[in-house]
């Protein structure tokens, strides 16, 4: 996988910023080389020689001051112009359009809704590669920040102040991101995965998200479903097709279809799920999900159930 760097753009928005960044870095590097050279040359050429006379007491020259003030001003004017261009390309005005995707930041996970398709997911967001989607970004608690470097700018999720940005990918792939505004104990593990898919694949993913997995027929999975209900999991988590409707924790309807667990904390495998259920606090200390002191058997059954939520 390519590094998740702004200098590795994979969208028109990120490309516009990267282009600007390269211009800026070159300009600044040139300035630094000039300044550093002057400092080092002065240091060597004018170091005190033994028996040296007092140097000429030069108090300055207005002409010189003007001469070295003008070029930086001109450079800044140029940089300002390219800045505004990049601003327009990387962050086009959304207008009054309804959002395609509504992302709500929580301590410490991401909720995403596709309003048109009536789909709710958590942490792993899919987008098609053939168009830009308008995202409405909001927060359920404190200030967070959405940042996927290869796809574009970061944008704060501010409670009481919804923001909008465009998300788009040139190529299919998985793009890593992270929360980028300190939001409490587990800010470090509020990671983001954006999966960009060709249009047909995206549509089938979306369709699969609309399907409600039936309740398990029997066996361990059914026993696990009963435990899910019994252990107050439904107080925080929603699973479509069951009475569980709460939106305090991530929606688990299609939990097993996701690549990572706990917002990018670890790969989503049955073993890791078992570890998580045994005590979430050892994996993501401070997370809002308490230690339920489940027995190993209860964990096993719950894992069996959740693995059917694909």
């Amino acid at each position: 996988m390519q590094p998740s760097s702004p200098l590795n753009p994979d969208s028109p928005q990120a490309q516009a910023i990267a282009h600007l960044f390269v211009i800026v870095l070159i300009a600044l590097a040139v300035i630094f080389v000039v300044v550093a050279s002057l400092v080092l040359i002065a240091s060597f050429r004018y170091r005190q020689r033994p028996g040296a006379a007092l140097p000429r007491q030069n108090f300055g020259s207005t002409k010189v001051e003007i001469a070295w003030t003008i070029p930086p001003i001109l450079l800044l004017v140029f940089l300002f112009v390219v800045t505004v261009q990049a601003m327009r390309r990387s962050d086009p005005w959304p207008g009054n359009r309804a959002p395609d995707l509504v992302i709500t930041a929580h301590q410490w996970w991401w909720e995403a809704q596709y309003p048109a398709a009536n789909v709710v997911v958590a942490n792993e967001i899919h987008i098609p590669t053939d168009r830009a989607m308008l995202v409405r970004l909001q927060s359920a608690d404190v200030i967070h920040d959405w940042w996927v470097p290869q796809l574009g700018r970061k944008m704060d999720a501010v409670p009481g102040h919804p923001n909008h940005f465009w998300i788009e990918a040139d190529v299919p792939g998985t793009f890593l991101g992270t929360c980028a505004e300190y939001c409490g104990l587990e800010h470090a593990w509020m990671r983001i995965e954006v999966v960009a898919q060709p249009p047909a694949e995206f549509q089938s993913w979306l369709a699969a998200q609309q399907v409600i997995p039936p309740p398990p027929a029997g066996g361990d999975a059914a026993a696990g479903a009963k435990l899910f209900d019994q252990f107050t999991c439904i107080n925080c988590h929603a699973i479509a097709g069951t009475p569980a409707r709460a939106a305090i924790g991530p929606d688990l309807t299609h939990f097993a279809s996701r690549e990572t667990l706990a917002s990018g904390r670890m790969p989503n495998t049955p073993e890791n799920l078992a570890r998580w259920l045994t005590d979430p606090q050892t994996i993501k200390p401070g997370v809002n999900m308490p230690d339920f002191h489940l027995t190993a058997e209860q964990v096993r059954l719950l894992v069996a159930y959740l693995e059917t939520r694909r």
Partner: protein
């Protein structure tokens, strides 16, 4: 001929009712020199504490997924590191230096309000104690030095840490405002005859502009802290969105203080550089008027750029453009200074004492920080790199490469005046080179970490390619810096005891503080030399070519 009486009449002078021996005399002192030294001691103490906090964090971050510190402990450490370094190291170290040096540099006997001066010191000490008491009262603040709402509000921060933060900073903040009043009045009213404002040493000039900025900026912080306390303790909701308040309002208020604040902690450092470079280049400062005027420009502009800390908040393109223009403009007066300092060195006769080494190091390191700052003013770039390690790198280049290195240049320059002894040049060389290497090892690679996607304020990170290596280099660099600081401490301790006696003017400098003994007597001067230019001692040493005979004086 001079119109100053050459022999002062001592009969009418009142003796200051103050003892000068014993530890208690230091506690009760109202002498600006002692108060200045106490400020510096307090600042160094907190520098050590803040440095330790940084080392602990760097240990935790040396490898991915370490469990050296819990997330809660890490969050308290980065909050306290930032708060300590800004409020209890950077501001006091510069205020302390100003306290000591300004009366001497303007030929005055003390500051305008000596007892107020003492009070500001003790307000600083008690503010710091209150802040640190939080560790014993349920936990230090853990919401960042900038304490964004609503994370800092009661639903999300239930322990007392944020309350101690607010109250501790209020106490210290009141001290800062009072000290600012004191210094401004001193500079305006107590200058020696002949020392017009246009002849002020640049350190004094920059201190004056800084203190005026403090008068305007600190109240914004003090008021915001009161509002936060009202929210937290009295069920207010200024900044609580769920109750109709605004999280963004806190940011606007805080950064209205916070941005001028960062110039407050760099301008006096610029002043020190403006004293050191001319003396060790054996030439006057090039372009005095332009260096002075650019200081005022920076002071004024600094109040109009605060929302460049909020580019990612979603204020709208018009806002972003407005603040980008201001932020880019402020680079110009800063650049003018850099050019003038280089021009001062140009065709000079440069002595590379440790002080001058730090000044040259400052020029290079601060330029890096200033340039990365320009890249951040270009807000689409900021949209990518703000809140990442790129920003952590920027702020440390301007604060460590800027304020700290400039302060070290000043320390090696003025230590002989304060103590009567020279610091060891040999130990100074070790201190300088280890600082330069350590600083770059710690912070240069952080630019790259930010560009690889590493956010800031994280207690650990995933094992992505190169993140672990770069973090390890940064951690090693931090320990190199720690060794450099220990060498400085050793240098100070050894030199106080057995350093070479300094004499009145070991560097052949030209401003008034060098016209008295080292250390100065309690009343500072037996006789203040006549002042007819910016370099009164040059005029005395070169009666055939005094500055006041030239156009510029």
């Amino acid at each position: 001929m001079s119109d100053i009486p050459l022999v002062p009449e001592t009969a009418g002078l009142m003796a200051v009712p103050e003892s000068h021996a014993g530890a208690l005399s230091w506690v009760a002192t109202v002498d600006h020199k002692r108060i200045g030294i106490l400020y510096l001691i307090v600042a160094f103490f907190f520098f050590g504490v803040g440095g330790l906090e940084a080392l602990l964090m760097r240990i935790q971050l040396a490898r991915p997924n370490l469990h050296f510190l819990s997330p809660g402990a890490f969050d308290q450490l980065f909050t306290m590191h930032g708060t300590t370094m800004i409020f209890f190291f950077a501001m006091p170290v510069l205020t302390g230096a100003a306290n000591y040096l300004v009366p001497l540099m303007i030929g005055s006997r003390d500051v305008a309000f000596p007892r107020l001066n003492a009070m500001t010191l003790w307000l600083l000490v008690f503010g710091g104690l209150l802040l640190y008491f939080s560790f014993l009262a349920g936990g230090a603040p853990d919401v960042g030095w900038f304490s964004y709402a609503p994370l800092s509000e009661k639903p999300f921060s239930t322990n007392l840490g944020v309350d101690y933060y607010a109250i501790g900073l209020l106490v210290a903040g009141i001290g800062s405002v009072l000290a600012a009043i004191n210094l401004v009045v001193t500079i305006l009213n107590l200058r020696a005859p002949g020392l017009s404002i246009r002849r002020l040493p640049l350190f004094v000039w920059m201190v004056m502009v800084t203190q005026i900025m403090i008068l305007l900026a600190l109240p914004a912080l003090n008021v915001s802290l009161c509002m936060l306390l009202i929210d937290r303790l009295m069920h207010g909701h200024f900044f609580v969105p769920m109750a109709g308040g605004s999280a963004l309002l806190w940011q606007h208020f805080f950064w209205s203080f916070g941005h001028p604040e960062v110039y407050i902690v760099i301008l006096p450092a610029f002043g020190m550089i403006s004293e050191v470079i001319p003396v060790f280049s054996r030439k006057p400062i090039y372009g005095y008027e332009f260096v002075a005027a650019s200081t005022v420009a920076i002071g004024v502009l600094s109040f109009g750029v605060w929302a460049h800390h909020m580019f990612a908040v979603g204020l709208g393109h018009s806002f972003d453009i407005m603040f980008a223009i201001g932020s880019m403009l402020i680079a110009i007066p800063t650049g003018v200074k850099i050019f003038n300092w280089i021009a001062t060195m140009w065709q000079g006769s440069i002595r590379f004492t440790t002080s001058m080494l730090f000044a040259v190091g400052f020029l290079l390191m601060f330029t890096i920080g200033g340039l990365s700052g320009v890249s951040l003013a270009i807000f689409p770039v900021d949209w990518q790199v703000t809140d990442t390690y790129y920003l952590v790198a920027h702020l440390h280049y301007v604060l460590f490469g800027g304020t700290v290195m400039a302060f070290f240049a000043g320390l090696y320059y003025w230590f002989p005046k304060v103590s009567g002894r020279m610091l060891s040049e040999r130990l100074g060389q070790w201190h300088f080179w280890l600082t330069l290497v350590g600083m770059n090892m710690t912070f240069l690679d952080q630019h790259i970490l930010g560009l690889l996607g590493m956010p800031r304020r994280v207690y650990t990170y995933p094992n992505l390619p190169d993140w672990a290596t770069l973090n390890m280099i940064s951690t090693i660099g931090a320990f190199v810096l720690a060794v450099a600081m220990l060498i400085l401490l050793w240098n100070v301790a050894v030199s106080l005891r057995s350093g070479e006696p300094a004499g009145d003017n070991p560097w052949g400098a030209w401003t008034l503080e060098w016209a008295t003994t080292s250390p100065p007597p309690p009343h500072n001067f037996e006789l203040v030399p006549p002042v007819r230019s910016r370099r009164p001692l040059w005029d005395l040493q070169h009666p055939e070519d005094p500055d006041w005979k030239r156009e510029h004086h």
